[in-house]
């Protein structure tokens, strides 16, 4: 049963991760900073999974990136694009609607 729960939790977290990332990308951030922000917000991030997600979002032109080499080490900074902002709005709407549906279904279970 624990394995079933763990798998479900991992799938939920991965689905939500993309939405969480675009929500915090109003200003340019690099990978470690994104992980820290998400962890501070209560969303535990598997460090190995963040960068492939960022790559996917970049391929979909939801994020854009630029290497910054002036600091102590080269860093790839990400920022949300204009089309990314439109996608974020749609994702948030879809997420809230799904959340609302689950809450109403939960009421059926608890009998409230």
């Amino acid at each position: 049963m624990d394995k079933v729960f763990e798998k479900f939790e991992t799938e939920i977290r991965r689905g939500v991760m993309q939405l969480a990332i675009v929500c915090i990308m109003n200003k340019e951030k690099y990978g470690y900073e994104i992980i820290k922000n998400l962890n501070d917000a209560g969303l535990k991030v598997e460090e190995g999974t963040l960068y492939p997600i960022l790559r996917r979002l970049e391929s979909a032109e939801i994020l854009s990136s630029q290497w910054e080499t002036s600091g102590p080490r080269p860093r790839k900074y990400y920022k949300i694009t204009e089309s990314g902002k439109k996608v974020r709005k749609k994702w948030l709407k879809a997420f809230k609607e799904t959340n609302k549906t689950i809450k109403s279904l939960e009421k059926d279970i608890t009998g409230e």
Binding site: Y30, G31, E47, G48, R55, R56, S64, Q66, K76
Partner: protein
């Protein structure tokens, strides 16, 4: 994963590992050492699993081969269609000759239809005018 993508991923992950190591070292009030680096790498999970999560990106060779396939298929279809049209026209216009003018017309039609096909197939116009956000 192509070479360019691998190099970029490696560069980014290296920076992440060093940033994480700095934080852990600061928490422990020590210098970054091999043990801390190993700890960070372990936290990231097996390299093969991380690599599998990356989206497949076509290399320049993949894109070139794909473009050649597309153009090759189009050329084949065009040749068949042109052959059929030409033979039909020859039935009605007995004096029709296969000369330099015909070849020129054929080449012009080929290029025009190829351009239209490529624009529609790859949505080139919308890509050309899409604005890219820059920092």
């Amino acid at each position: 994963m192509g070479l360019k993508q691998r190099e970029e991923v490696a560069r980014e992950l290296k920076t992440h590992i060093l940033d994480s190591a700095d934080v852990i070292a600061a928490e422990k009030n020590v210098e970054v050492d091999d043990a801390i680096i190993r700890e960070v790498i372990l936290r990231m999970g097996p390299a093969s699993e991380v690599a599998n999560l990356y989206p497949e990106e076509k290399t320049f060779l993949d894109k070139t081969l794909f473009a050649l396939k597309v153009v090759g298929l189009y050329t084949f279809i065009f040749a068949v269609a042109f052959g059929i049209v030409w033979n039909l026209l020859r039935i009605y216009f007995k004096n029709l000759q296969y000369d330099s003018t015909t070849i020129l017309i054929m080449v012009i039609f080929y290029l025009v239809f190829l351009a239209i096909y490529l624009i529609l197939r790859f949505k080139l116009i919308s890509k050309l005018f899409r604005r890219n956000d820059e920092f």
